[in-house]
């Protein structure tokens, strides 16, 4: 009889579809007037010696029913939560509420890239004024007034003594005036020349570098700049140094890399030579040391400078320099 009860319960449990059904079933078996409760109550009408055995059977089945009900209940609750969450569901294919990040200007991107490389080599970062004394921009760098070397740069004048700096080299002089060697720094910044066409803008960016210490050689200049160029353009990039002229360095060098567009085969950008001029450099002219009070017998050093726009144009294949300053976001967002 008790075995029948168990079977009946399981059948009924099987047909339970909701928590409400389950609750009814629970009442039916375990409620105050439930089947099991009634069974327990009827124990008193059973002979005393049979009571323990019978009682245990009923309690077993009660425990069985409770466990079954509990597990069914948690199962039903889970199902119900699942249904509820499903009704809260979003169209996950709609696009997100996205805050587009801004983009760094390509010139500053290249500038930071170059700065990082030199900072890793132990160079610090310095700055200098953009409106500069003629003295720092020219005279102290061994470019006297009435010297043809001034023709190399078309200068914006504020007055006879004040110019917009035509290069970042005056920072060399300013830093050396303030500090004793050893010095090792780069100076990125804006420079100005009165020139405007497809390859020239009246304002552009340069990075200047200077390293002065005892025993610095031209060989070191080659070592540092080669390391930089290999890091910047790839370890396989050919680098060549050839003689040039800057009034504030001697020996002076122009540094070329193998054309990154044609791999040295010769193309329009490298004018068929297979080489691209990338920076100017040289050993600091002793005259410059004398101007800042360094003893050229004790110290030597090298300086270098490069145009950022040119590097950016090569790296991104941009053929019109003016795009950098039009600030069209269709252009800026590409970088």
């Amino acid at each position: 009889m008790i075995e029948d009860l168990k079977k009946t319960f399981l059948d009924e449990l099987e047909s339970v579809k909701s928590l409400a059904d389950l609750s009814n079933l629970k009442v039916k078996y375990l409620g105050r007037k439930g089947i099991i409760t009634a069974e327990l109550k009827s124990l008193s009408s059973i002979p005393p010696d049979e009571r323990p055995l019978h009682g245990k059977k009923i309690n077993d089945i009660k425990q069985f029913i409770e466990e079954k009900l509990d597990s069914r209940e948690s199962q039903l609750k889970k199902e119900e939560l699942g249904r509820q969450l499903l009704s809260d569901s979003l169209d996950i294919t709609l696009s997100g509420k996205f805050t587009t990040f801004g983009r760094e200007h390509p010139i500053n991107k290249i500038l930071s890239e170059i700065t990082d490389i030199f900072v890793r080599m132990g160079f610090s970062v310095e700055e200098g004024p953009e409106v500069e004394l003629d003295y720092y921009n020219f005279e102290a760098l061994n470019i006297p007034k009435d010297h043809p070397a001034r023709d190399m740069q078309d200068t914006f004048y504020i007055s006879d003594d004040i110019v917009l700096r035509t290069h970042t080299s005056p920072v060399q002089v300013r830093v050396m005036e303030k500090r004793k060697p050893p010095v090792r720094f780069i100076a990125p910044g804006k420079v100005y020349r009165c020139d405007a066409d497809i390859t020239h803008t009246p304002m552009f960016h340069q990075i200047e570098g200077l390293m002065v210490d005892k025993g610095i050689t031209f060989s070191n200049l080659k070592g540092v700049l080669e390391a930089f160029l290999h890091r910047m353009f790839g370890a396989d990039t050919p680098v060549r140094f050839r003689p040039s002229f800057f009034p504030f360095t001697e020996p002076s060098a122009e540094v070329d890399i193998g054309c990154i567009l044609c791999n040295g085969a010769g193309c329009r950008v490298c004018k068929g030579s297979g080489w691209l001029e990338i920076l100017g450099a040289g050993m600091v002219n002793p005259r410059v040391f004398e101007n800042v009070g360094y003893d050229p017998e004790e110290y030597s050093g090298f300086a270098f400078g490069m145009g950022i726009e040119r590097i950016a144009m090569l790296k991104y294949s941009i053929d019109d320099i003016r795009l950098f300053f039009e600030n069209d976001i269709r252009f800026l967002r590409q970088f």
Binding site: G102, L133, K190, D213, K222, R242, E250, N327
Partner: protein, 715 residues
């Protein structure tokens, strides 16, 4: 400088082909920028640096190649075999400082006609137009030997006399001279410029251009050829003052070969006789200031020290050997006297460069320096750079794209903003030679550029713009206005020079512009644009650990008076932000798009002293907090900042945080009043607070506020 290969080969035996020669030239500092094939010949376009005027001619380039290949140099034919007659002619150098040597020859009975083909062809390869045989020969010798020559029609020179002097010397102090030059222009030449005169008048501007009246014409029979050395700076000044650049002035101002001058004269006469016939007469040669080279020592050890090489004495002298130096060896150095065509060689370092150049830069090994390790701990720029970078990253992460504009502006940019006289932004730095009127001043504010960027992008159909720029502004400094105090303040900017000349203050600014059309979008975002930008400013300042800032209504004329604020850190104004005033927006014709344009400009230099202070850890609270929300109705003139100030002024240690979470005006609130709801969070550091205790405290706080604001509780 154009160099035909065939011409070069007249002076030196070269086995290498043209491409190889071009490469070798480049590697000794004579960069061949282009190689052109013309009529079966090859023409090199050589970029000659300003220090090497000796290479502005064929023989000079041949000389360099000869030194490098270690082969002899052949000099062109110039011997005058038959000179006829004495010279009935005088030359008088009046300004010997400006003319160190003057030589001339007379050639009689020449026949002016077109040049022979060989002469024409060579000139054409060098991009020089053929004129007639006489002029062409002077140009030919200019290209070949680098020496400018001038031919006068002898019959036009008055008094059988050539004088070389400035108007000061010839006519008296302060006088100028008028001369019509070959190009037909009447020119006034200043008192200090050197001219060539005959007995009566100026007949040429020395080293720059000849006079029209003494020009060689088709009818010319006798000519006088001038070959002289003029002082470079003087020629440069004259040429610059007149705005007149010629092949001749280009060479004289860089320095010509005073010793070559006579050979050049003879070579000219030789060629003229060949192409124009005539009788070459004797010559005049006044050489007042001889070339006296100074001896320069170059120490073997120094050469190796600078180049990082271990060259022997022999190797070093072999490098310098072919360059025409007079050399004398000693135990530790070489004593050198440079030739007259190498006036660029003045010091030891110049000679070290020559050694490196001839030895070959590519043969010097690349070696990283063995450097002292050190870090500049004093460098205040590190902090500045750090702060600048933080600000920039914050803007980029907030969706703002970086722009870079020219540092220039026009006067109308400042006028358009309505910036008044006396405002610092009118202390302008003006460029004397701008490319355009609208680029003739240095920026004192970045806003005009930002507006231009906005307009440019709007015209290309962009409906949302978030742009920023970090750049310097330039404020002219009148030394007398500048107090010591302001100097301390601008510590991070570039301060005054000790001299009387004062540079402008250069200050790093941040500017941003925000514009968003109210288009239909998927998600609502109903905050006013003003608050979006303000939130960004607050986030940036908080990121720099700056909390003591405030926003105060801004008086800037170009901003919307009701939607703009000046930004302060403590008592220092660091910038402003707000909607562009409708008047300006309308004038820019962005009214069609309607929504507001929010601009922001901050002086980064004035943030630096407040930013990135050392962080001190505060222990986390141990006990729980209790919160209370209250809404009050107050006069609508009471702004959030005022209420916050009142709330904060209430004396209690238990108030941890106060925030305003709702401001409402409208239905159920009387005219002229508004409802403000705020939240107060209470916490004690040493115990758990009790509700009834906070009820009492909060009540008292609310009453305090209602009393101060004459407000009432919102039910």
């Amino acid at each position: 400088m154009r160099v035909p290969f065939e011409w070069l080969k007249e002076f030196i035996d070269i086995k290498d082909n043209a491409d190889e020669v071009a490469h070798r030239l480049t590697m000794i500092g004579l960069e061949v920028e282009a190689v052109e094939h013309v009529d079966g010949d090859v023409v090199f376009e050589v970029n000659v640096t300003p220090n090497r005027p000796d290479c502005l001619n064929i023989i000079g380039i041949a000389r360099e190649l000869a030194a490098m290949y270690r082969t002899p140099l052949k000099f062109p034919e110039h011997d005058i075999l038959a000179e006829t007659g004495e010279l009935d002619f005088n030359v008088d150098i009046l300004d010997t400082e400006l003319c160190h040597r003057y030589a001339g020859r007379i050639i009689r009975n020449i026949k002016i006609c077109p040049s022979p083909d060989w002469l024409k062809n060579r000139l054409e390869k060098c991009n020089i137009r053929s004129i007639n045989n006489i002029v062409d020969v002077t140009n030919y010798v200019l290209l070949e030997l680098g020496h400018p020559l001038h031919a006068f029609d002898l019959s036009t020179i008055k008094g059988h006399l050539i004088r070389v002097g400035t108007p000061n010397t010839v006519k008296g102090q302060g006088a100028t001279a008028k001369i019509k030059t070959l190009d037909g222009v009447e020119r006034e030449v200043s008192e200090e410029s050197l001219l060539i005169w005959d007995a009566e008048r100026p007949i040429a501007i020395a080293g720059v251009m000849g006079g029209l009246e003494t020009e060689v014409a088709d009818s010319t029979v006798d000519i006088f050829i001038e070959s002289a050395y003029f002082e470079p700076v003087s020629v440069r000044r004259t040429s610059k003052a007149l705005g007149l650049k010629t092949e001749s002035s280009y060479r004289f101002e860089r320095g010509t070969d005073i010793k070559m001058l006579k050979k050049a004269l003879d070579r000219t006469a030789y060629l003229m006789k060949e192409v124009a016939g005539g009788i070459v007469c004797g010559k005049i040669d006044i050489y007042t200031r001889r070339y006296m080279p100074e001896e320069i020592s170059v120490r073997y050890e120094k050469v190796n020290e600078i180049l990082g090489l271990r060259l022997t004495r022999e190797e070093i002298s072999r490098c310098l050997d072919g360059l025409g130096f007079e050399m004398e060896e000693s135990a530790d150095s070489l004593k050198i006297k440079p030739p007259a065509y190498r006036r660029d060689i003045k010091r030891e370092s110049d000679l070290i460069e020559e050694v490196a150049r001839i030895y070959g830069y590519d043969r010097i090994p690349a070696e990283l320096p063995k450097a002292t390790i050190g870090i500049d701990v004093q460098n205040s720029r590190l902090k500045t750079q750090g702060i600048k970078n933080n600000i920039k990253q914050a803007l980029l992460r907030s969706g703002f794209t970086e722009v870079i504009n020219y540092s220039f502006m026009g006067l109308h940019d400042i006028d358009a903003l309505g910036i008044e006289a006396g405002d610092e932004r009118r202390n302008l730095i003006q460029i004397k030679n701008p490319l355009k009127a609208e680029e003739s001043f240095m920026r004192t504010t970045l806003i005009p550029s930002m507006i231009k960027n906005l307009l440019h992008n709007l015209s290309h159909g962009n409906r949302e713009l978030k742009l920023f720029e970090i750049a310097r502004v330039f404020i002219s400094q009148k030394p007398e206005v500048r107090s010591r105090k302001s100097e301390e303040k601008t510590q991070t900017a570039f301060s005054l020079e000790p001299s009387a000349i004062s540079l402008p203050a250069e200050r790093e600014h941040l500017a941003a512009i925000y514009y968003k059309e109210k288009t239909k979008t998927l998600y609502r975002d109903d905050a006013h644009d003003f608050y979006i930008v303000k939130g960004l400013v607050e986030a940036i300042l908080n990121d720099l650990k700056i909390y003591d800032y405030s926003f105060v209504r801004s008086p800037e004329t170009f901003l919307h008076p009701g939607q703009s604020a000046d930004i302060f850190i403590m008592d220092t104004k660091i910038g402003y932000m707000g909607a562009l005033s409708p008047a300006i927006a309308n004038s820019l014709d962005i009214k069609a798009h309607k929504p507001s344009v929010i601009v922001l400009e901050i002086d980064i230099d004035s943030i630096i002293p407040h930013g990135m202070q050392q962080v001190k850890y505060r222990p986390l609270p141990k006990y729980p907090y209790i919160e209370r929300d209250t809404a009050i109705i107050v006069d609508s003139a009471i702004e959030a900042s005022m209420l916050m100030k009142l709330l904060k002024s209430y004396p209690s240690d238990l108030i941890e945080d106060i925030s305003i979470f709702d401001v409402y005006q409208g239905k159920n609130i009387p005219e002229g009043r508004k409802s403000i709801a705020f939240n107060v969070r209470y916490r004690a550091s040493d115990r758990t607070l009790k509700d009834d205790e906070i009820d009492v405290l909060h009540n008292s706080l609310v009453n305090y506020i209602l009393d101060k604001t004459k407000g009432q509780l919102r039910q």
